[in-house]
């Protein structure tokens, strides 16, 4: 075939510094958002499955000491960790005879741990929303810049041939495409993760009361 070099990557070689800068930012955004997506997908999946298994075990076994002993196997499960925090507080009560105060302390410890767990699960997730919202606009900036340049070159050359106009427009479209490529997975992942984190949060709310009740029963 003929040896002419025309294509996406040779097009990139001719782009201006502004468009290259925009592309570099978008690439960085994409790398970071995929880092978060990969990390969070693993953490949330593990947290959900271990929580589910722990709950099965918790309702099977009535003894809190036995359940605590088993929590070692569910270290990544959010609900198991909350139970552990409650159990540690319950043990710290020692010989406290005031059941009401003991219940309050255990409930507080469980709430604190549940909050901690929610915070930990949703750490970095807002960045996905940021990428999803801003990347198309950054790409659009590159687009506007490229089209501005192509119109300028039409003005300079006083020629409206495709050879004059097309490279600038192609540059512009590359920036838009890169912006969308970074934004689309981020938005999908953000929605998916927030939905799953909300589900875990609801579970924590629901079962916190159950745990407190089980510890109070042990106190009596």
């Amino acid at each position: 075939m003929f040896p002419s070099k025309i294509g996406f990557f040779s097009l990139l070689a001719d782009t201006g510094p502004v468009v290259l800068f925009v592309l570099a930012i978008l690439l960085l955004f994409s790398v970071l958002s995929w880092t978060i997506i990969i990390m969070k997908a693993a953490i949330i999946r593990r947290a959900m499955s271990e929580s589910r298994n722990f709950l099965d075990y918790f309702f099977d076994v009535a003894n809190v000491d036995k359940v605590f002993g088993e929590t070692e196997n569910f270290r990544n499960g959010s609900i198991a960790r909350v139970f552990r925090a409650g159990y540690i507080e319950y043990r710290a009560l020692g010989d406290l005879k005031d059941t009401r105060r003991g219940e309050e302390r255990i409930a507080r410890a469980i709430r604190r741990e549940a909050n901690e767990e929610t915070k930990s699960l949703s750490r970095y997730v807002p960045f996905l929303a940021t990428v999803g919202n801003t990347a198309p606009f950054i790409g659009l900036f590159g687009t506007v810049w490229g089209i501005m340049n192509s119109f300028l070159s039409i003005g300079v050359t006083q020629s409206a041939s495709l050879a004059t106009v097309a490279p600038g427009i192609a540059e512009a479209l590359v920036a838009t495409a890169a912006g969308l490529a970074a934004a689309i997975p981020s938005v999908i992942a953000y929605n998916h993760f927030t939905q799953q984190i909300n589900s875990i949060e609801r579970d924590l709310d629901d079962f916190s009361g159950e745990f407190v009740k089980s510890f109070v029963n042990e106190l009596r």
Binding site: M1, F2, P3, S4, K5, I6, G7, F8, F9, L27, S30, V31, L32, W34, T35, I36, I37, I38, M39, A42, I43, S153, V156, T157, Q158, S159, A160, S161, L162, A163, T164, A166
Partner: protein, 270 residues
């Protein structure tokens, strides 16, 4: 201690995920490079983007090409050392200035013809030949041919040989000259570039050698010398690609594979 361990574990997870993400992006880039360059998906639109909103008319290029002197000491692609053997073409040479005036002066000529015929039989013969040539060929082709013939007449030094023809130094037949001129004209018509887009300073000249198969298909395009402007080189290459297939190599030229050279300058093909 427990918290610190957990944080370490989280950092390790983060690093692993980052490495996986970088790897993923590298794979995507490598995959698209592979698709573009190896699988031949790089230019699916090459033949379809054949549209220019403003084209350079060949006649404009022709006019500007006229006064530019042929570079001395550089290998010419078309010319061969032809001092004499142009017996059938000799009458064309003095006729050329008239040809350049094209159709505008045709009525005048027809008026003058009877007077001239009375003057001398040589002139009469000349005009006959001129008329024949005009009937046979379209005007643009004629101009290109005339320019090429003029160059051949000016002549490269006798020791020089056609780089496309090899070193035998044989005189170029009129058929071959005509064919080469036709090719040059076709490529010139397909050539679209804007001189103002050339940012590089200095001499812009590209020497290209190409092989024409008997059927006219162009193959084996090589740059013997590239100009400083990549844009210029690219437009030259695209012009040759667009011109393929060229008219089949005539039987008079040999009818076989033909290797020729062309010099492209912003003023036109030399």
């Amino acid at each position: 201690m427990n918290k610190r361990d957990e944080r370490k574990k989280q950092n390790r997870r983060l690093l692993t995920a980052f490495a996986a993400s970088v790897l993923l992006h590298a794979l995507v880039v490598a995959g698209s490079v592979y698709l573009q360059y190896v699988m031949g998906l790089k230019r699916p639109w090459l033949k379809t983007i054949d549209v220019t909103l403003v084209t350079l008319s060949p006649s404009n290029v022709e006019i500007s090409a006229g006064p530019s002197p042929a570079p001395e000491g550089l290998p010419e692609p078309l010319p061969e050392p032809v001092p004499e053997p142009q017996v059938p073409d000799k009458p064309d040479v003095p006729v050329e200035p008239e040809k350049r005036e094209t159709a505008k002066k045709i009525p005048e000529k027809t008026l003058e013809q009877p007077k001239e015929r009375k003057k001398s039989p040589v002139e009469e013969r000349l005009q006959e030949l001129q008329q024949k040539v005009e009937q046979e060929q379209p005007s643009e082709f004629e101009r290109t041919l005339a320019r090429l013939q003029q160059k051949v007449q000016k002549g490269p030094p006798s020791g020089r040989v056609d780089r496309g023809e090899g070193a035998h130094g044989a005189p170029m037949s009129p058929y071959k000259k005509r064919y080469l001129a036709q090719i040059a004209m076709i490529i010139q018509q397909r050539w679209s570039f804007t001189p103002r887009l050339i940012r590089e300073k200095g001499r812009i000249e590209t020497y290209v050698a190409l092989t024409i198969q008997p059927g006219g298909v162009v193959s084996d395009i090589t740059f013997h010398e590239k100009s400083a402007s990549e844009y210029f080189n690219d437009t030259v290459l695209k012009a040759i690609e667009r011109a393929s297939p060229l008219p089949p190599v005539p039987e008079e030229v040999g009818g076989s594979v033909l290797r020729i050279g062309l010099v492209f300058t912003p003023q036109g093909i030399k």
